[in-house]
């Protein structure tokens, strides 16, 4: 449906698997030869029962959280989940079965047989047989995220010290309260398909976050400021401070290396500053949106509406459908945005959350255009959808959040291409007469067909006659997707290009979570409706 409202209390997420000793996170997974043997047992068993297609996913999912507030460690969780999921087509219908802790051929063969039985039973309820786009087998291949330091190799004490140091810096700089969390993920995934692919993959993700609160006891008001970090497809190296990764300006933002201590120091000061900031006057403003903010607007208003399953109606009862209907795409002239607007889908982008070598049905990943020079040109499609939009192959964006869940079409990284002519943020601001510069993501909401949206942020600065005139609060902007992207008036060049994203994009029933990045450079939108969100209760 969109992002779950995952606040700072992340570790209550169920279904992460068993709790383990932190040492277990460093143990090598199953040998790839054993995985192949298990996979072959399932492939053969399914075929013998009449499956016309089979894929087997053997997954080991490791998570670690360190959760603190002020001077206390609240929770350290280490979890592991291992199992095998088998998906088949029999009688033209999908069937799926999964088995926890499956470690021998007989177990996985049984799961495969069960999947075939389910497919055959459900085949009575389908209208049309599944049509898969052709896919070559790649043989035995592997892919590893190009990380420099495995986060699980860093001692927990070092992580605790980092977070408690962050919290101390917040308190020292005027915060009344601070929560901070380090969230680390390693997906060790193996997929084998009856097309002859055996892909072994190692994926890493990290997300350092905090939330600072400042209270004005006299007025009883409180303000918060969240981290300007981005969840990243990197190792612990994301936390290595590198001056080249800092973007200075009205506040410091970060690219491929995050200085958590510096950011929290600024956050405490800014949360305090927000308490006395001017409440925004509602009206039309030109918006200058930083990538730490714009990623979420891209996610909701571009990423989701171009998911083909939504367009077709498969998500009608939950996430919703889409305004970007097939006829608009077929017309070849649907103006999604202004001519400056180019959106690229990408499952390969280095350091992004969506990057893998092969998707969860064994398709080699790639990049493709969604919107070119403002015109809608494509969707996100997987093997059983490709034929619907006349594509000869899947886009390679199939994903399941666990070995125990069925893979389906999920959003790849969807990014706004940087501007082609040189433009710095400072030069962009110089041209704005009445505007608001927004940094960081905040409140977000969009309708079920992705027309009308409302977004908040973390930091708002008033722009008057080309100058930053001070901090604002109570800001949210509302627009309509097509109107908004057509009001795009300028995009900074690639020097300012950065990624944002989330671990928790939710879709499907039962709901599955997926991690996705969105890149952009700072972008200007003209004449957007801004509301004032202050209320008295």
């Amino acid at each position: 449906m969109g992002l779950s409202a995952a606040g700072i209390l992340l570790p209550t997420i169920p279904g992460l698997g068993r709790s383990v000793d932190p040492g277990v996170l460093l143990e090598a997974g199953m040998d790839v030869a054993v995985k192949k043997r298990l996979a072959d047992a399932a492939l053969n068993a399914a075929k013998a029962k009449g499956a016309t297609y089979t894929d087997v996913r053997i997954g080991r999912y490791l998570n670690q959280f360190v959760v603190t507030r002020e001077d206390k460690v609240q929770n350290i969780a280490n979890t592991e989940s291992y199992g095998v999921g088998v998906r088949v087509i029999a009688n033209g219908c999908w069937g799926f079965a999964a088995l926890v802790d499956a470690k021998n051929e007989a177990d996985v063969a049984r799961a495969a047989e069960e999947a075939v039985a389910i497919a055959k039973a459900n085949s009575r309820l389908i209208k049309q047989p599944v049509q898969l786009a052709p896919q070559q087998g790649y043989g035995e291949v592997s892919w590893k995220a190009p990380i420099k330091q495995n986060a699980f190799e860093v001692p927990i004490k070092e992580k605790v010290d980092l977070l408690l140091g962050v919290n101390a810096a917040a308190m020292k700089n005027g915060a009344n309260y601070v929560n901070s969390v380090l969230f680390m993920v390693n997906e060790q995934k193996y997929i084998a398909t009856s097309d002859g692919t055996y892909a072994d993959q190692d994926i890493h993700r990290i997300w350092p976050i905090f939330n600072v609160t400042c209270i004005d006891p006299k007025s009883g008001k409180f303000e918060t400021r969240n981290a300007l970090s981005a969840p990243s497809g990197m190792g612990y190296d994301y936390l290595q401070v590198n001056p080249a990764d800092k973007v200075t300006g009205v506040t410091t933002r970060y690219n491929k290396g995050y200085d958590m201590l510096e950011d929290v120091t600024a956050a405490a000061q800014q949360a305090k500053q927000k308490l006395s900031a001017k409440s925004v006057e509602a009206g039309k403003y030109d918006l200058v949106l930083d990538p730490s903010h714009l990623w979420l607007t891209i996610h909701e208003s571009v990423g989701h509406p171009l998911e083909l399953d939504r367009v077709l109606g498969y998500e009608a009862n939950f996430a919703g459908t889409s305004f970007a209907t097939l006829d608009k795409w077929q017309s070849k002239n649907f103006q999604y945005g202004s001519k400056l607007v180019n959106f690229v889908a990408d499952k390969q982008q280095v350091g992004s959350l969506g990057a893998v070598g092969y998707d969860d049905e064994g398709v080699k990943t790639k990049q493709w255009d969604l919107v070119r020079d403002g015109i809608l040109v494509n969707y996100q499609a997987i093997r059983d959808q490709a034929a619907i939009i006349g594509e000869k192959a899947s886009h390679g964006c199939c994903y399941a959040d666990s070995w125990s869940t069925v893979q389906f079409q999920r959003m790849p990284n969807v990014s706004l291409s940087a501007g082609k002519t040189p433009l710095s943020v400072a030069d962009m601001i110089k041209d704005v007469k009445k505007g608001i510069y927004i940094v960081g993501d905040g409140s977000f909401s969009i309708d079920q067909q992705r027309y009308n949206f409302q977004f908040g942020g973390q930091l708002f600065y008033e722009i008057k006659d080309g100058q930053i005139a001070g901090m604002l609060k109570d800001v949210a902007y509302q627009s309509n997707t097509q109107e908004f992207w057509n009001s795009c008036a300028a995009i900074c060049d690639e020097r300012d290009y950065r990624l944002g994203g989330s671990f928790f994009d939710g879709k499907g029933q039962p709901s599955q979570s997926s991690a996705v990045s969105h890149g952009s450079a700072t972008t200007r939108f003209n004449g957007v409706n801004v509301i004032n969100t202050a209320r008295k209760i």
């Binding site: 609240q74 350290i76 802790d101 309820l125 409180f222 009862n317 459908t321 909401s445 209320r535």
Partner: protein, 448 residues
């Protein structure tokens, strides 16, 4: 089948406790079966069923605690899990807010379990889906729906003698019906403990009517309107408000219940005097587990074993209670009331139709969607109407209207109360249809 009886569960828990060497040890054992069927575009897309049985051991040395889990139940595995929890505890940093485990507790008798639901099988699910799909197919309407049923149990035990056991069932059903031209959409939602009370055909017929009636929606100017919120529309806003009644946040000055100059608004009249909200785990319409605290909802899992009692949160508009962690309650010298598993908003006797009949001008809202907090201080939320929004004039539904975005706080909303109908079960709670004046719609949406 993974539903253990109280005796079976206690036998395993006692065995685990017999291996324990830590200062304190708690064992949580839970299991169950969940099944689902999903359909869209008038065709079943996925269905499945899964069983699980899992045991978690928490060992504590001083203020250091560690948890290990397992889903194998031979003696060696159980003992190994206890040892692992103890090792993790020894390595963990001290938690200064750790509270010693509770001893034996007295629990209310509740019964959130139905044998009818426990007996659900794939044939039942297929039939329930067919009953919903078939009428839509016949009327050239497009159905997308989801049914999920759960039958489970949860048991707790600890080295201080606490024993708790609950078994529960639930069924959740949602249906969205769209017209073939995509210009109309309707929705219905049901949740029951006993599946014999669920009729997917009846719910689907309501969604069908709303889909057909919502075609050719007219655009009204955004602004402040009198609205009738069906329980499916108000439930999320009310649930969000109930989820913000944590005493610690209020004491710390970062809640809608924090007071200017310090302290909380406990005892203050914050809402219209007709607003009374309470929880009662024995209520036969929404029975819940008799223990909880720290989460777990209807299944009581993941809890510290605190009893769930009948408790009034808001009485005639006055804030009467907040909930607390055991640490914060001890620090403040107040009862450690756990958050409720469900809540009941007292209403009146009027039907939804009665509320419509008594409305001169207003808007009937089926459902609110994509609700997100805008300001935690005022509980301002934004979101949109969806799947059936209608204009009412002189006591009658006149025509469908385009969907609106709202920006509204449940606190303001419950001050602008005009009338309440008879409460119905929604999302495990009992909520009346509400007639509210001056509800703020801030923009229009083209979404159907």
């Amino acid at each position: 089948m993974a539903i253990l009886t109280k005796e079976e569960a206690k036998k395993i828990i006692d065995k685990v406790l017999s291996y324990a060497k830590a200062d304190e040890t708690a064992v949580s054992l839970s299991g169950g079966r969940t099944g689902n069927i999903r359909y869209a575009r008038n065709s079943v897309s996925t269905s499945g069923e899964s069983n699980n049985l899992a045991l978690a051991v928490t060992s504590v040395f001083g203020k250091r605690s560690g948890t290990a889990t397992i889903n194998e139940f031979d003696d060696a595995s159980l003992e190994k899990t206890v040892r692992r929890a103890e090792e993790i505890a020894k390595l963990a940093p001290e938690n200064p807010e750790y509270m010693p485990m509770l001893g034996p507790q007295t629990y209310l008798n509740t019964n959130p379990y139905s044998e009818n639901t426990a007996k659900i099988d794939p044939e039942y699910r297929a039939k329930a889906a067919f009953d919903s799909l078939d009428p839509c197919r016949k009327k050239n309407l497009t159905a997308a729906g989801y049914l999920e049923d759960t039958t489970g149990f949860s048991a707790l035990g600890n080295s201080k003698g606490l024993v708790a056991y609950n078994r529960a069932t639930s069924v959740d059903f949602t249906i969205t019906v769209r017209t073939a031209d995509g210009l109309g959409s309707g929705y219905a939602i049901r949740d029951v403990t006993d599946v014999s009370k669920l009729n997917t055909k009846e719910a689907t017929e309501i969604a069908m009517q709303k889909a057909l009636a919502s075609v050719t929606a007219k655009a009204l100017e955004p602004g402040k309107y009198t609205v009738i919120l069906e329980p499916a529309a108000s439930v999320d806003l009310l649930q969000n408000m109930m989820g913000s009644m944590d005493g610690r946040n209020a004491d710390e000055g970062r809640s809608f219940l924090s007071k200017k100059g310090g302290g909380t608004r406990l005892g203050e009249k914050l809402f219209d005097e007709r607003v009374t909200i309470y929880s009662d785990p024995t209520n036969p319409d929404i029975p819940t587990s008799a223990f909880g605290g720290g989460g777990g909802g209807r299944f009581g899992g993941g809890a510290d074993g605190r009893p769930q009692e009948k408790i009034t949160w808001v009485d005639k508009g006055v804030v009467k209670n907040m909930y607390y962690s055991r640490f914060w309650a001890a620090k403040k010298g107040v009862p450690a009331t756990p958050p409720p598993a469900a809540f009941i908003m007292a209403g009146g006797n009027q039907s939804l139709l009665d509320l419509i009949k008594s409305t001169e001008k207003g808007i009937l809202v089926t459902r609110l969607w994509y609700i997100r907090a805008v300001d935690p201080q005022t509980l301002l939320y934004t979101g949109l109407t969806r799947d059936g929004t209608f204009y009412i004039e002189n006591g009658q539904i006149k025509f469908p209207v385009k969907n609106f975005r709202f920006n509204e706080s449940p606190v303001i909303m419950l001050n602008n109360l005009e009338a309440m109908g008879k409460p119905v079960r929604i999302g495990g709670n009992l909520i009346p249809p509400l007639k509210i004046r001056d509800f703020t719609f801030s923009s229009l949406s083209d979404a159907v």
